[in-house]
């Protein structure tokens, strides 16, 4: 939990370090979901840096806001951001995918900061709905956030959850969609079209907010203005780039799952640093 507002420059630094860490995890023995992790880093950084209420030293603090990573394959991004925000030492990220590590390819509940084990797609929003409903029923003001992939929305269980969250009037619930436009086989619109995405959520009774998922100030403004309506859930459709920040991976289907060889890792990190220099 942050005592004082974190500057946007500081958030950018954290996001950069998280991306470096994602690449490092991609360079371990089994590799990782690089593209979908890099597209989610800025969203996660803003949530943990300036939105969520939590105590890393007390992960199950009763007054915390809840975060559910429904797109569990972006675990590397979550680990990098949790480590950046004090849940465990960043050095532990080196254990990613190693035997008996707490850092699996999809999140394990034993890791501080992970509320539910996820990875099988289409589970997170139902879990988040249950937590949000419990908070509403017991008069608590904890908020609940779930980060979903866009391809994941093809799972029908999501639409059961979307329907129910609106039906129960869960103003304390926010779904964030990492709308990077890709899934394993190609563009989401070619595999199984999701558009008109905003209209679909709106027609199910949600408030819909559209934002550039890499604009840290815009993300902060959107999250800071929640809920969009007090008695209905909000979905933030965050337009992102798969592989964001690393030129060779950006908007590239093949960045979905990568095992970075030492040479590729070096190239990726150089690209990441160059991209950052050009921006600042």
């Amino acid at each position: 939990m942050t005592e004082q507002p974190v500057s946007t420059a500081e958030l950018a630094d954290r996001a950069h370090r998280a991306r470096e860490n994602v690449l490092a995890m991609g360079a371990t023995e089994h590799g990782t979901h690089v593209g979908g992790s890099l597209s989610a880093v800025d969203i996660l950084t803003v949530l943990y840096g300036s939105v969520l209420r939590y105590r890393p030293e007390e992960p199950t603090w009763a007054d915390r806001d809840w975060f559910v990573l429904s797109k569990g394959h972006a675990s590397a991004a979550l680990y990098a951001v949790l480590a950046e925000h004090g849940y465990f030492p960043p050095e532990e990220c080196a254990s990613y995918g190693q035997r008996r590590s707490r850092l699996a390819g999809h999140p394990l509940r034993r890791l501080p900061g992970v509320e539910f084990p996820t990875g099988s797609l289409g589970h997170g929003l139902s879990l988040a709905c249950g937590v949000a409903l419990a908070m509403a029923r017991t008069g608590r003001d904890n908020r609940v956030f779930a980060l979903l992939g866009d391809g994941e929305l093809q799972e029908g269980s999501n639409w059961e959850a979307i329907m129910s969250a609106a039906h129960f009037g869960l103003g304390n619930l926010t779904a964030v969609i990492d709308r990077n436009g890709w899934q394993i086989t190609g563009r989401t619109e070619d595999a199984m079209a999701l558009e008109p995405l905003a209209d679909r959520w709106r027609s199910f009774g949600w408030s819909v907010v559209d934002v550039d998922g890499h604009d840290l100030e815009a993300l902060r403004a959107v999250f800071g203005a929640l809920p969009a309506a007090p008695d209905r859930p909000t979905v933030v459709i965050a337009r992102t780039l798969k592989g964001r920040g690393v030129p060779i991976f950006e908007d590239n289907r093949k960045s979905h799952y990568v095992r970075l060889t030492p040479r590729l890792h070096e190239r990726a990190v150089a690209g990441l640093n160059a991209r950052r220099r050009n921006r600042t």
């Binding site: 809840w66 509940r109 509320e115 539910f116 084990p117 996820t118 099988s120 289409g122 589970h123 929003l125 139902s126 879990l127 988040a128 709905c129 249950g130 937590v131 949000a132 409903l133 419990a134 908070m135 029923r137 017991t138 029908g156 269980s157 059961e160 959850a161 329907m163 129910s164 039906h167 129960f168």
Partner: protein
């Protein structure tokens, strides 16, 4: 608005009254009684019918209907439980275990959250509805879920005891109920303990291990028929499928000529499978499994008709017990092996 006078009497005072209906009616009454005294207890419905005039009318703040959506039923219930509530998630056993198996595996059992799943229409109790509503592999699926406790009450009264025991049991619990009124097995309340089989009849010649209302009833009837032939059959009510009562099963294996398992479930993976797996490693003995044979029941009939079509009858239990005794006698011609 229901007044206090109109409310059903507490379960302890009305054991006999519990037999006025099916186990699911008893369950609904018991759940309402529990929920009145503990606002953490929530009834999560999936359009099952039966809660709207009772539970939902009296305790609307503790009632949630997710509609016809089993995946969301389990995911949302897991969320409620993680946030400190005690949800009772209601559906039919076939849908709980096959349609929403992944939510059961990951969100409920995987996280060991205190979700209580109460599934009606177990076995062939909705047999006349057709194969979509037959729950004949539910126990096999449930047995593969680590951290999950699986209860199968034998009658309506035992259902009340099981629901009460489950309410504050640490970890997730699945309670499998039937749909129809079934015979009374327990004449009075007793000390129901999760994981402890109940010896309904003493006997050392052969042991009949049964789970579920009609299987237990059939086993009791078979034991009476065997007694008429001078054979003493031990009858165990295996109301807990997981964790299995190892001591009771192994004692039966050691003290009798063999075990007959009886269930309204496929012969693969249910009680017969659980018992066989245990004795194979701990005390190898003969096990005869009475259950639904490996076939798709696409005929019409009520619960008893379909059990008969599938191979679960009193005669069959008697025959299997006699076969076991015959085999035991041929093993040691001078005396029955104990």
């Amino acid at each position: 608005m229901t007044t206090a006078e109109e409310r059903p009497a507490p379960v302890e005072d009305s054991w006999a009254a519990l037999y006025q209906g099916a186990a699911r009616d008893t369950y609904r009454r018991t759940l309402l009684e529990l929920a009145r005294t503990d606002e953490r207890i929530h009834c999560v419905d999936s359009d099952m019918g039966g809660f709207e005039d009772g539970f939902a009318a009296e305790l609307p703040g503790q009632y949630v209907n997710v509609g016809i959506a089993e995946a969301n039923l389990f995911g949302l219930s897991a969320g409620l439980a993680a946030a400190g509530l005690i949800p009772f998630a209601n559906t039919m056993s076939a849908f709980a275990t096959t349609r929403a198996a992944e939510q059961l595996k990951l969100d409920v059992a995987g996280s060991s959250l205190p979700v209580r799943i109460v599934a009606t229409h177990g076995g062939l109790s909705a047999g006349h509805y057709g194969p979509s509503h037959h729950a004949l592999q539910d126990l096999a699926i449930l047995r593969t879920m680590p951290q999950l406790t699986v209860l199968v009450p034998a009658d309506a009264g035992e259902t009340a005891l099981a629901v009460r025991a489950a309410a504050y049991h640490p970890g997730p619990v699945f309670i499998r109920l039937g749909r129809n009124p079934t015979p009374q097995v327990h004449p009075e309340p007793y000390a129901f303990t999760i994981g402890e089989a109940v010896r309904l009849v003493d006997g050392d010649d052969v042991a009949l291990l049964a789970t579920g209302p009609l299987p237990v009833h059939y086993a009791l009837t078979a034991a009476r028929l065997l007694a008429e032939r001078g054979i003493s059959a031990r009858v165990l009510n295996m109301h807990t499928i997981k964790p299995l009562d190892r001591a009771a099963v192994l004692a039966a294996a050691q003290e009798t000529a063999g075990l007959v398992t009886v269930e309204d479930h496929l012969v693969v993976g249910g009680l017969g499978g659980a018992v066989s797996e245990l004795v194979t490693s701990e005390h190898p003995c003969r096990v005869r499994r009475v259950g639904i044979e490996d076939r798709y029941l696409d005929s019409v009939g009520d619960e008893r008709d379909l059990l008969e079509d599938g191979g679960v009858t009193v005669d069959r239990i008697v025959t299997e017990a006699l076969t076991l005794l015959g085999a035991a006698r041929s093993d040691s011609p001078d005396q029955r092996r104990k």
